[in-house]
């Protein structure tokens, strides 16, 4: 469950109390499911892209349910831009490290045994870097389009 104060629960921003209660229950499950799909990407269907989009959907649910203040405390817009670029840099540097052992993007870490979580070389690390990039990219573009846009829709204005 998301840890929130009583005043945020009772405030008028965001949506009705039903949506707020369900969001508090479901947020942890969404983040856990997204992390599971990212980490087990080399053993079951999924991978970095699908898991990253699921995590971004979790953050967007938090924003829609509680208003922009709560979710901006968890990841504000500067942090989203930084994490975005950090993800790509980690991915490229893993590839460049492969040149120390042979050619570009060589799978140089020890491969491990079959069917274990820490197997198959650089593939889990690359999955984590891609998930980081996709999550923060899509969350930042959602912020830019809907909250920091330049015109407010009539729905949002009437709720005040």
């Amino acid at each position: 469950m998301v840890d929130l104060d009583q005043e945020i629960r009772d405030s008028k921003k965001g949506m009705t109390p039903i949506v707020k209660t369900i969001t508090r229950f479901v947020m942890g499950i969404i983040v856990m499911f997204g992390a599971y799909i990212v980490l087990y990407g080399h053993l079951t269907p999924g991978g970095g892209f699908a898991g990253g989009v699921i995590l971004a959907c979790g953050y967007i649910l938090l924003t829609l349910g509680f208003g922009k203040d709560v979710s901006l405390k968890k990841m504000n817009n500067l942090a989203a831009s930084l994490l975005d670029n950090l993800g790509v840099l980690i991915f490229l540097s893993i590839g460049l490290l492969g040149t120390t052992a042979g050619y570009f993007f060589l799978n140089f870490i020890d491969h491990g045994q079959d069917f274990k979580l820490f197997s198959s070389g650089i593939i889990p690390l690359c999955n984590i870097a891609i998930a980081l990039k996709v999550t923060s990219s899509l969350f930042a573009i959602f912020l830019a389009l809907s909250i920091f846009g330049r015109f407010v829709s009539t729905l949002v204005e009437e709720e005040e």
Binding site: T44, P45, F49, S137, L138, I141, A144, L145, R150, F151
Partner: protein, 116 residues
């Protein structure tokens, strides 16, 4: 054969919506439908009759998967294509909102006419 043809009909419908409608949002919807049809076409080409998914689970034999699985290469490329489609859609909607702010309308013929 008829499946490929119907997929191309979906592609042509998306292109028609892009070319012959006046509203910018309809043009964006046309691009989205075109992208769907192309992804479907690529996966349809790689299907094998009676095939299994290209994943090896714990009790399975690796030889069975290697013999009779569907083509995994188009699946890898379509996976990146779907996420790229989302990014390009975000860029298109950003341009569309900027146009609305400047010209106060979504109508393409009005935007074409305003020459200062």
């Amino acid at each position: 054969m008829i499946l490929y043809f119907l997929t191309l009909v979906l592609f042509v419908m998306g292109l028609y919506c892009l070319v012959a409608k006046k509203n910018i949002i309809k043009k964006i919807i046309g691009i989205v439908i075109t992208e769907y049809s192309i992804n479907l076409f690529l996966i349809l080409i790689g299907y094998r009759k009676g095939g299994v998914a290209p994943i090896i689970l714990k009790g399975m034999d690796a030889g069975v998967v290697a013999e009779s699985s569907v083509d995994p290469l188009p699946q890898a490329l379509v996976l990146t294509s779907i996420v790229i489609g989302l990014g390009v859609l975000a860029l298109m909607v950003a341009i569309c909102l900027r146009l609305y702010e400047k010209y106060k309308t979504f109508d393409m013929s009005d935007i074409n006419k305003l020459q200062g």
